[in-house]
């Protein structure tokens, strides 16, 4: 493992004074932080703090009323999620957003859609250009399947898989997009200790081998302290702290928030 030698690059994505409100309810108030290239950033906070909303904003699902997002130095106009995907942002969900009607292999293959170029007529004929492209992408997908150790279930319809494996398939699909920024929403939720260890290993490997920048929401403090380079703490839609795991652990506001001291 080469944590110590990891080169953290410049700012990849910067979130500036983001305020998001639904009707009268403010989900996020004046949030600013940045995600640096090649790092693993953890976003933590009590339930309802606005963590998923933050990811949704980065993803293009929600459009903040105030504030702006800078991606690679350029300001990003309000955009739909599929444009965010084209920019290189991939994402997993708390409630596993897989395509239940398709097999594992097909699900992961959908992640390659942006990289496929053949037109409708080539696809209608299939033999020739389209087949070559399908096989090429299949090979990439199989590498990811090997990487995440899910070979045995590649033809199983994902609706039939246990929750832990579904999460892994969702991660595989996100990886298939070859993203620059990977957003993981509670990737370890509902897993036992062994599964968590596996997932941690995968997350670290992804960051290590492919250099993918990762931002993850996580409740398990052990995981957060172990694998993240920096931590952002949210509570009631506001940012409480921002720094290395040790700094955040010692921060009084953070301790109060988690222990429930009213403020």
């Amino acid at each position: 493992m080469s944590y110590g030698d990891k080169q953290i690059g410049d700012t990849l994505l910067k979130v500036d004074n983001i305020t998001l409100a639904f009707g009268g309810v403010k989900a996020l108030t004046d949030i600013s932080f940045e995600i640096r290239e090649h790092e693993i950033l953890a976003i933590i906070g009590p339930n309802g703090a606005g963590k998923t909303s933050m990811l949704n904003v980065i993803n293009g699902f929600y459009h903040p009323q105030q504030g702006r997002i800078m991606f690679r130095g350029a300001e990003r106009r309000a955009m739909r999620p599929h444009l965010a995907a084209r920019q290189g942002i991939a994402r997993t969900f708390q409630n596993v957003a897989l395509f239940k009607g398709m097999s594992t292999l097909d699900n992961i293959m959908t992640g390659r859609i942006l990289k496929m170029k053949s037109n409708i007529f080539q696809q209608a004929i299939y033999w020739g250009a389209n087949q070559r492209e399908e096989i090429a992408h299949r090979e990439v997908v199989e590498k990811i399947i090997d990487f995440l150790e899910i070979e045995a279930i590649r033809k199983t319809p994902v609706g039939r898989l246990p929750y832990g494996l579904q999460k892994r398939v969702e991660l595989a699909r996100a990886l298939a997009m070859e993203p620059d920024l990977l957003l993981l929403d509670e990737p370890m939720a509902g897993m036992n200790v062994e599964e968590k260890e596996d997932m941690c290993r995968f997350v670290l490997d992804v960051n290590d081998e492919f250099g993918t920048t990762i931002a993850l929401i996580e409740h398990d403090m052990g995981v957060v302290m172990d694998i993240s380079d920096r931590v952002v703490v949210l509570d009631y839609g506001r940012k409480l702290a921002d720094g290395s795991p040790d700094e955040v652990r010692a921060n009084q506001d953070v301790i109060d928030a988690y222990l429930g001291v009213s403020h």
């Binding site: 998923t52 949704n56 699902f61 969900f93």
Partner: protein, 338 residues
């Protein structure tokens, strides 16, 4: 005053203005194109005829709203329930019973039907996606259609329970010759109003009504708090069945009881789009708009394109609404959480 009531009152005030504007528009068009005929008296007549026709649409749409509100199911079979109810009523009358007794018996048959539907169709399909349930109701539609006609035959039946059908002339002072209004349509409107009022109260203020709303939201959650799904669904479909019976009596008295009644259900769809699938007042307003719009378009715009616009006008209007306000005038906005 809550937002919905405010919106309702705004519409109430805005409607006469809209109608006046439409009238002026048609008057202008008739001045230019000699094939179009327009007098204000005629305009009001067509408008009222359309509105009252709209009430009949609303009666059918009400049944939809009930079932959708309470079970989240879009009951495509509502139209054939109307037909079946009317056929049953006529059948009992033809056996020599007085219409009030026939009504009670027909209502009872609808309750039995509701129990059967709940047992055979709804229970096995609980928790399936809504599209599956919708398609199941299409199956019920065809089944009921065939069943009703197998039982009672498929001739056009006459249904007459003594509702006055005389034409009345009103406002003879204002307009030359007065405006022709049919007494029957007025009775239908009153019946519709009474039914709506009763149902609105039922949903808002009774325990059963609350349970129905819970079930509409989430079957599993409702089950887990102990709401008896079976009973609720049977109640809802029975009430919808009785509403269908009333609608069937109104339609049947007006146009005879025949197969095409089942296809009225298709017309109710635009009504629901306009009014919102979960709103009882919406069903009324939607029905009025569709009814009036259809008639006005047919009489005043139809001649321009050869007529029979009413075949598709309602659906096109619904389409336009879908593009700009999918939840209808009174429905709830659906927010998808990720």
């Amino acid at each position: 005053m809550n937002p919905a009531a405010m919106r309702f009152s705004l519409w109430l005030l805005g409607a006469p203005l809209l109608i006046a504007a439409l009238g002026l528009g048609f008057q202008g068009m008739a001045a230019i194109d000699s094939s179009l005929f327009f007098t204000w008296g005629y305009f009001i007549e067509v408008l009222i005829a359309g509105l009252l026709q709209g009430v009949l649409y609303s009666l059918v749409a009400l049944g939809f709203v009930l079932i959708f509100k309470a079970s989240g199911i879009f009951n495509f079979a509502q139209g054939s329930m109307v037909l079946f109810a009317a056929l049953t009523m006529v059948g009992f009358i033809e056996m020599g019973l007085h219409w009030t007794i026939a009504f009670v018996l027909a209502a009872g048959s609808m309750v039995l039907l509701a129990i059967a539907i709940e047992k055979i169709v709804l229970r096995p399909l609980v928790n399936q996606p809504h599209i599956i349930l919708f398609m199941a109701t299409i199956g019920i539609f065809y089944f009921l259609d065939g069943f009703g006609q197998t039982l009672w035959g498929s001739d056009v039946k006459v249904l007459d329970i003594g509702i006055p059908k005389d034409p009345l002339f009103v406002a003879e002072g204002l307009f030359e010759g007065g405006i022709l209004v049919n007494a029957f349509d007025l009775v239908a409107a009153l019946v519709g109003a009474a039914l709506v009022a009763g149902l609105a109260v039922f949903f808002q203020y009774t325990r059963v009504g609350r349970a129905l709303r819970a079930v509409a939201d989430d079957h599993q959650a409702a089950l887990s708090v102990g709401i008896p799904l079976k009973t609720i669904w049977t109640i809802v479909w029975s009430v919808a069945g009785i509403v269908a019976l009333v609608a069937g009596i109104m339609w049947g008295s007006k146009a005879g009881v025949q197969f095409s009644l089942a296809l009225i259900a298709l017309k109710a769809l635009p009504v629901l789009i306009l009014g919102g699938f979960t709103s009882i007042p919406g069903a009324i307003v939607g029905g009025l708009i569709i009814g009036a719009g259809e008639q006005l378009a047919e009489v005043f715009l139809g001649p321009l394109v050869g007529g029979a616009i009413q075949d598709w006008f309602a659906y096109m209007l619904a389409l336009v609404f879908l593009l700009f306000r999918p939840q209808g005038l009174f429905g709830e906005k659906i927010i998808e959480r990720i």
